[in-house]
Structure formats: C-alpha cells, structure tokens
Symmetry: C2
Subunit: 429 residues, 2 copies
C-alpha cells in the first residue's frame, strides 16, 4: 500500500529541511579517525546522538567466545576491535507495523599515504556536490542517513509504528563481527536496511570474503651466496602466482551462480599488504602477505579455506626452497559467505516504491563484489536485508567522497521506506 | 725478508697466551647492538680500549659535505649513521718500517626475526669451536683481532717500527662512508689490512655494490573494482622482473673481468626488503622495494645507475598501470665500485709468508661478491689493501658465528704480518 501523497510530500520536505544538519552531523563523524580498533570515541558520539533523540540505548562488548562458536564470525586476532556495538531502540506506542533494523558501520579502512590525498583525510571538505574524507562514503554518510531519516518523521510529529533498531557497528571492514554480534545479542526484525554507498541501487547478490596471511620463512644468507630463488620475498611471489591460478579456477565456476555469471571476473584475489626482509644486502628470511580472496555465494567457507591450504601445500612440495620450510597460511579476518537477496519480498517492493517516488525510475538491482554486513541478516536472520545508499567515490582509496545530492535522495527514499514499512503513528505528547 | 724464527715462535706463543682475553673482548663487542645508527656505545668502547693501550686517539664525525663531493661516497639519507669514526694511532720511536692501516667495522646488519636464532643474537655464546652472535663473524672478531695482534707484540716488549693506524669505522654495511671518511680525513699508509671474515683467504677482486629503492605508487580502488595489474605490489613485482633481465645482461659481461669470468653468477640483484599496502581489502596504492645490485669491477657507478633508471623507465612506458604514475628509483646506500688487488705487491708477499708460517700452506686468493671497505684503500689510496680474516658462518643470516681456532690462527698471521711489514722495535722504558 503506497504512502499517502501528502505524507510523502511532507517527508520529502522534512528531509530537505534538515539536510544541512545532516551534512554537519556527517562531517562530525568523518573527523573521528575510526580505523580498526580506534572506534571508541566514534561510537560514544553515536551513542550520545541517539540517546539525545530519546532512543532507548544499549551498548555491548563483542563476545569473543560467542562469536567463536558461530560459523559466520571472523578470525579474532590482536588487531580485532574492542569497541562496543551501539544500538538505539525505538518502540512504538502501539506495535502495528513491521519491525526494522537500520544498520551502519563506523569503522573505516586506513587512509594510506596522506600525501596522496588532495585534502587531509579526516577533515571533511565540501566542494560542490561532494563531501570528501575517509569514511564519508563508506559509510558515515549512511550512518547519518539512518538517523536523519527518522528525524524527518519526528519533525512531522510522527514515529514508526513498529520497533526499529538503529544499529551502529564496527569490524565491517575486517571480520563482520559487529553485525554478527547484534544477531548473537538477539536483535531480530522483519527487515533490515543497510545504508552502504550502493550508488542508488539495491544489492541483489554479494560475494563472500576470506582473509588470510601468507608467511614465508627461509634461512637467509649473505647476498654474495644467494642462490636462485632462495629469497623469502621471491618465494612469496611464487606462492602468489599459484594463488592466482586458484583465483582463475574459482572464476571458472561463475556459471553456477545466477547473479555472477555475467560478471567478467567475480572472484578477486587482492594482495593487499606485504612486508618482508630487513636489509638491502641480506637475502630476506621472511615475508608476510595479507591476502583477501572472494568466494561465490553457496561456496562453503571451510571448503574454500581447505582448498587454499591444499593448493599452497601442493605447490610448496614442488618448490626447492619452500619445501624446506613450508609457508604458513593464517586465516585472520573475514570468513564470510556470500548471499543472494531473494527477489519478490515485500520489503523490496516497499523500497522500490520509495525509490521511484524520489528518483522517478525503477530501483535497479546489482551484484556486489565487496563484503557487506547485510549477509548477517540474510543468512542468519533469514530476513530481507536491503543494501541501499548513496553515490560515492574513492572508497578504500584516496579523495573518498559522498555525493550530497545523491545522499539527500537516498535519505528521502529511506524515510519513505520506513514510513511505509513500519507505518507511522503520532508521537505521544 | 722473513721474520727471525725465534721472534716468530714468540709471537705465536704470545697470541695464544692472550687468546682467552681476545675472546672475552670479542664477546663484549657482540653485546653492543651496533646496528646502523646505533654504534655510539660500541665506538666509545673501542675508543676506551685503544686509549687504555696507550694509542694516540682521534675521534671524528662523518663530514657529510666532504663525503658528498667524493665519487665513492654513498647516498646520505635519514638512516645514515651519525656515530663517529675512531682511530688509534701508534707512532714508533724511530720510523724505520712500512706504515700500515689496520681496519675493521663495528656496524652489524639487523638480526631479523629473533625466533629464527637458536640463541639470543646479541648474547655471545661459545659452543665448541664457535662463538655465536650477530657481528661475531662480520666483523667484531676481526676488529678485536687487529688490537690483539698488536697486544701480542707488546707482551714481548715490542711495537711496530712504523706508524700504524687502528681504524674502527661504521657504515660498512650500508654506504662505506666510514672507511671513506678515514681517507678524506687524510689517513695514509703503505698498506692496509682489513680483517673481514674471508675464511683464511686473501681477497683478490671484489664486486661493486649499488643500493636503490624502487617505489611504485598508484591510485587504489576498492578491491571490488580491481582490474588486472592495477595494484602497486603486483606492479612492483613486474618491475623486479625487468630488473632480473638487467641482472642477466650484466652477468653476460662477466667474460671481460678476469677474476669473475669463472663465477657462475657474479652479479646478483637482491630484493632485500619490501613493504606495501595498508589493508587486505584495499588495492595497494604503494610499494617500496629495497634492492641491492652488484657491478663488475671497472663498471662506472654512474653509468650503471643510468642503466637502471633507463631500463625501469622503458619498461614503465609499456605498462598500462605504471605508465600513469611512473615508479621512482632512489639511490639510497652504496654507490661503490669494485676493485682488483694487483698481484705481486710486497704486502701480499709478506702476508703470504705470515700465513704459511701459521697454516703450513699457501695463501689462497679469492673473488668476493660482497662489498668490502678495502675498496677505499685500493681505489683511492692506491695501496695494497689485504682483506684477510677468519672462518665465519651465518653472516647476514641467523646463528652467525666465528670459528675460534681459525680466529686464533689469522690473528697470529696478522701479528706476524705486522712484525715483518712494519718491523719491530723495543718499547721505550
């Protein structure tokens, strides 16, 4: 049932009216250097922002043991964040509509070499249609959008006529444990809206992601006695060559996946970080390589991990240098399966109507090749999780930004979606 | 003129008698963690050791400007040591013999991962015939040997009948600027003995060494949008592939070098250290690779550097990713030519006799593929520089050690060499 046209227009106007405040809020978020493990003040900011709006607040630690028991958790190592998960709870006067999770993550990836940015990464700069800064796109603009979509209703004297959980999580860029923790804590709703910067599209299907670290050790010698290949860095690159073969093999299975078969190369192995050796004139004795590989939906994580380990082991046995000290593979982050958002849900239909009201055209669905927290709600809550947000640029790169006109539109669409999905009721005097 | 047999036997006995003290002195040296830039206390120890023995002491800073004007200096960067050079000067009562430089370096290469050592790297452990520890072989045992060879004469009431400079330098493992600084300071003698661990052989010819850092930059993107090869780490490895071709080309010229043509692969490119990227799920935007390549004697350093730069530039132009942001090559350490020790010098003959007295066999000459400070004395002082020292193991690697019976023998040979080369005189009452 479509929204009343008057209410629709009121919501559109309300989002527009508070958009300057939404921009300022987003800028305040970007100023927090909330890289992995450093999200404490950012989460306190989110806690206060929701508390001041009257939400019932819960803040909880990640439960390492509970996570470890769940097959969807990441590998917990020394780099794992200890920042809490923050949830603002809205309970209606009367539970008439459908409940909803509004989710966003506040952790950001490292900014990289600062001199490759046109402006300081944690100083949000607005230039024309863009706000630039690390996390502006991925996904602080989305976190703010969740809050301001509800604010728009409130400014009209309205609130959702169903329970809404405003979830602010961490660890989205490394394990997905923040989102999983909300599931383990017992939060459940009939749909979820995750406001990742999806470029005004709905994510239909999403790749799974596995992280691992390859470590090669070797007995070094003075460079004067170096033999061909007896070098941990060179040896690591030989292993990488074999992993590229595995990547090829996995891509050849794309035909089995409806939403991936038309993508040229859905499975990507990223050699994200490397460190090795101590001295230019010493043959390096060690090399560590941080890798990220994706798996097609339906691929079991444990099976994929076993395949990685077996391939490396088989390659190692045939390599004169590596066979002496076989490299180790440590799974150290995401161990996450992909998902497909089943077409035809009511939630998708409601978002589609909201989107059309704002954009005047159909909501397109796309396949994503990046990890998304939505997987938790699709795979483990078995609910429609709608990954939907603004146009961004430079995500995980330099001069990251969010497109502000796009942000206003998707915030409006989110507010319309909430109003129709949850229904609205008057705020009690 | 061979030494008097009585004197020879006395010297052999004297070195033997003080060898326990020599071992202890070497152990004390190994306990100093004198990696690059951290040689201050080590040099103070050497200063005090020579001063207490009555040498006239000089200690001087490295003169950056003077070094920069000299073609044999290394590239001075932030990692360059500021530790002083220490020289102990012996002047005879009567200048009758031939003057001599006794040289050693106290800097050591990094120990690497400590857990790959059987014993703590800076705790000198004696096990059977070996003393183990970083720098025990390369070349603290040699530094101590220089001092104890003179001590042996002194214990007989004798001293060299010529000026002897006991030089303790730094930067041998990175630029060779310490040795060059002694030259720039004006120290000159008729021969030099450098007690590197040459396994009881004399170094006839020595490779030149150039250090450089390759840096690749690129515009990173989220791994979901990675294209083939648009990855700074992968791109760096493609450049390394091209540098391996250059290495091959340079090795093909080995026929021109009398002392290198029978070595299978005299020119070695070492990929010594690598660092790149910030995050497993971000396509890396940067990669730095520390390289060391050798050049055959007679190859001009500037010509070789130009060839490296040109080869990388040409390769870059043909690479879709690299051509956008060409990598940089920074020369950041050794810029040192190789040398050939001319056969037939008196100094070599004297060392040959000393060696035969101790070992009962001819002194063998070998070609070295590692940088040696001796190049300063051969190339710029135009004197015979004898690179001669003990048997070692694990140099630039793990469980580095010096063979103690070998050390005693080469110390004895050094003492005999000094006695014959400089002549001896009675110490004044």
């Amino acid at each position: 049932m479509a929204l009343d046209p008057k209410l629709r227009d009121d919501i559109i106007a309300a989002v527009d009216k508070s958009f300057d405040a939404q921009i300022k809020f987003t800028q305040d978020m970007v100023r927090h250097v909330s890289t992995r493990g450093n999200e404490h003040t950012m989460q306190d900011f989110m806690f206060r922002a929701m508390q001041s709006r009257g939400y019932t607040m819960e803040r909880f630690e990640m439960d390492r043991e509970a996570l470890a028991r769940h097959p969807g958790s990441g590998a917990w190592d020394d780099l794992h964040s200890h920042a809490p998960v923050v949830v603002g709870i809205h309970r209606p006067r009367e539970e008439k509509g459908r409940s909803l999770i509004l989710q966003g993550h506040v952790d950001v990836v490292p900014e990289g070499p600062v001199n490759m940015w046109a402006t300081p990464p944690y100083e949000p700069v607005i230039d024309g249609d863009w706000m630039q800064g690390r996390g502006a796109g991925d996904m602080k603009a989305g976190c703010a959008s969740n809050i301001f979509a509800l604010d728009a209703l409130k400014s009209l004297g309205l609130q959702p006529a169903a329970t809404v959980y405003l979830q602010s999580v961490v660890e989205e860029e490394s394990t997905g444990d923040g989102a999983l923790m909300t599931h383990l804590r017992g939060y459940r709703a009939q749909a979820a809206l995750v406001s990742e910067p999806s470029a005004e599209t709905l994510t239909r299907a999403n790749i799974g992601v596995i992280w691992f670290q390859l470590e090669v050790r070797g007995v070094p010698v003075h460079v004067q006695r170096m033999g061909t290949g007896a070098n941990a860095i060179d040896a690591a690159y030989r292993v990488i060559g074999e992993l590229r073969e595995l990547e090829k093999d996995w891509n050849q299975k794309k035909g089995d996946s409806e939403y991936f078969r038309n993508i040229e190369k859905p499975v990507n192995l990223n050699i994200g970080k490397i460190a090795g050796g101590d001295w230019a004139s010493s043959v390096p004795s060690w090399c560590k390589v941080d890798c990220r590989i994706s798996i097609l939906p339906g691929t079991n994580v444990e099976v994929a991990k076993r395949e990685i380990v077996d391939r490396v082991a088989a390659f190692t046995r045939g390599d004169a240098f590596l066979s002496n000290i076989p490299p180790t593979i440590t799974f150290n982050g995401f161990q996450a399966e992909g998902f497909v958002l089943k077409p035809g849900s009511d939630a998708e239909a409601v978002l589609g109507r909201a989107h059309e009201s704002v954009f005047g055209k159909r909501l397109e669905t796309v396949t994503s090749l990046a990890y998304l927290d939505s997987r938790v709600y699709v795979l483990f809550d078995d609910i429609p999780a709608l990954n939907y947000g603004a146009i961004s640029r430079g995500v995980h790169g330099f001069d990251e930004g969010v497109n502000l006109p796009s942000l206003k539109k998707v915030t409006t669409a989110a507010a319309l979606f909430i109003a129709e999905w949850c229904g609205v009721e008057k705020i009690a005097d």
